[in-house]
């Protein structure tokens, strides 16, 4: 009877989780949806406590209370700018939970002599994926938090070495399935998983972390699926599949937005191949034309339609609030202002949207690349803040350019362009940007935050 109640509670929770993800499709319904999911979680957890296999509550109470105490600050105190490393860190937590459950179940099966081949396959898969997600996520966290050097660390034969290590792990897994009662092999899988996680993220540069974080999301999900298979627990399979799908979709979207194949991000060690032909001759030539604050502000203040393109530089300068103030001043004068958000504008999928929403920009003004690209032609002024490669027209026109084919914002179609930029340097990919030397473009050099404050002051006077 209790078994049935538990299963029904899980079914209910699974339905709520799927509905919650559906509600996430629109900002207006998203919050309510997630509150429903939290309720579903509560139901599932309470139902589990009825399980007859649970005979003591001390240990689990200790775990849950400690977890809640750790979780609260992770939820309430982490600033939005630190979101990528926060997410990476909690992937490590999730994967560690899956791994420990896997180890516990294996030891139990070993002790009771109940391990079947199928269960061992699921458990082995679970700990292999779990362990590599734990260390991989911690590495990603370290790089994003800048505890570890962000630059890719490479050595000769790295890919061959990593892949053979992973292959060894898979061989151990196969061996374990054939001979389930061999704890040494199980231990070997654990160790290999931990090592693969570290080595896998080592050669990936800080700028590629959005893909890695999404991918680890997917792995954590698959580890949960394996747990579900091993324990015959359908809700773990459902949730793990949702998680895996989400991570997969996001990492594909990120790779596409960066014009890189999946394999290239994972094995490419981008830093190493940089330079070389990277500086392929720019087609147009010409000089950057600087502009003063007063003139730039005048153009913004008397425009009808302005599109702002926020880039990585804006997030680095932490100038979101200043941008929002500037937008407020322009709107007071009747200017129609939108933000054009490139998928890789922040440090993780959708990060820029969160940062701007935090600063108080309403979400109707945050427009995705596909929706805004046709509207650049109508814009009187486009203000590019700290973005470079994502607005480089060479991605469309210059076949020899390394970024050729990358989806970009069609800033060059607009009537005039003002680029806020720290200095005359090149973008992350090291490619010259024809947009900056276009006759339509004026450059405003300086720190993004300072420049925007200055622009705001001038717009106020205009």
């Amino acid at each position: 009877m209790t078994g049935t109640i538990i299963q029904l509670a899980y079914l209910f929770a699974a339905a709520l989780f799927i509905l919650a993800l559906r509600a996430l499709g629109q900002p207006a319904t998203a919050r309510r949806g997630m509150q429903m999911a939290a309720f579903g979680m509560l139901v599932a957890v309470c139902a589990t406590l009825l399980d007859q296999r649970i005979v003591t509550y001390e240990w689990l109470a200790v775990g849950v209370i400690a977890g809640a105490v750790i979780g609260y600050p992770m939820g309430m105190w982490v600033p939005m700018t630190a979101m990528p490393q926060r997410i990476a860190f909690s992937h490590a937590f999730g994967a560690l939970a899956a791994t420990l459950v896997g180890v516990g179940e294996y030891l139990h099966g070993l002790h009771e002599h109940t391990l079947t081949h199928g269960q061992t396959l699921a458990l082995g898969f679970e700990v292999l994926l779990g362990t590599l997600t734990v260390t991989g996520s911690l590495m990603a966290f370290g790089k994003l938090q800048e505890i570890l050097p962000g630059a890719p660390v490479t050595f000769r034969g790295q890919n061959v070495f990593n892949l053979s290590l992973l292959a060894t792990g898979v061989v151990c897994l196969a061996w374990l399935v054939v001979a389930p009662f061999s704890p040494q092999i199980f231990l070997a899988i654990l160790v290999i998983g931990f090592l693969v996680g570290i080595l896998m993220v080592l050669p990936i540069g800080g700028a590629d972390m959005p893909v890695v974080v999404s991918l680890l999301n997917s792995y954590a999900g698959l580890a949960a699926v394996a747990t579900g298979f091993a324990l015959d627990n359908n809700i773990l399979i459902v949730v793990g599949a949702l998680d895996g799908a989400s991570g997969f979709i996001l990492s594909m979207a990120m790779s596409k937005a960066m014009n890189r194949s999946f394999a290239n991000v994972l094995f490419g060690a981008f830093g190493a191949e940089k330079g070389g032909d990277g500086a392929a001759a720019s087609a147009a030539g010409g000089e950057m034309v600087a502009i003063g604050f007063d003139e730039a502000a005048m153009r913004l203040a008397f425009a009808q339609r302005v599109i702002i393109v926020p880039g990585y530089g804006l997030a680095v300068a932490q100038a979101q609030h200043q941008v929002r103030e500037l937008v407020g001043l322009m709107e007071k004068r009747g200017v129609d202002v939108r933000f054009a958000i490139h998928p890789v504008a922040g440090r993780m999928p959708g990060h820029m949207n969160v940062l701007l929403a935090e600063a108080g920009v309403s979400y109707d003004k945050l427009v995705d690349m596909e929706d805004i690209n046709d509207r650049f032609a109508e814009a009187d002024v486009v203000l590019v803040v700290g973005a470079n490669d994502v607005v480089n027209p060479a991605a469309r026109t210059n076949k020899s350019s390394p970024i050729y084919g990358m989806p970009i914002l069609n800033v060059q179609d607009s009537k005039s362009i003002i680029v806020l930029k720290r200095g005359r340097g090149k973008g992350f990919s090291g490619v010259e940007n024809d947009l900056f030397v276009s006759p339509k473009t004026n450059m405003l050099f300086g720190d993004a935050k300072e420049s925007i404050i200055q622009l705001g002051a001038e717009v106020k006077l205009a």
Partner: protein, 103 residues
């Protein structure tokens, strides 16, 4: 293959398909909340950790279970809180005092 394993594979396949369809529709605007949300939801492994921690199989199992329960709970609590915090920031365009949308 046992009948249980077959059913599990069906569940996995269908859930993966539903997940793929549902999540493809989420706009890039909400991708960061999506990651935080899936993170919170994946804390469901707490149900497995609870059984391990409470089953009194051996001291080691209980400790492993307790640590796993702690990790999963931290993800659930932290994940839902931070998702809610983020989603609360996403506001539609301001409305005037009389409630009419301002253009």
């Amino acid at each position: 293959m046992t009948p249980t394993a077959t059913i599990q594979l069906f569940v996995f396949l269908l859930a993966g398909f539903v997940g793929f369809q549902t999540i493809s529709r989420i706009p890039p605007l909400l991708h960061t909340p999506l990651m935080a949300a899936t993170n919170a939801i994946s804390g469901i492994s707490l149900v497995a950790a609870l059984v391990l921690a409470g089953a009194e199989q051996s001291l080691l199992s209980s400790v492993l279970g307790a640590v796993a329960a702690g990790c999963a709970t931290a993800n659930i609590v932290g994940g839902f809180l931070i998702t809610d915090r983020m989603l609360a920031m996403f506001k539609p365009a301001k409305t005037d005092i009389d409630g009419a949308p301002k253009q």
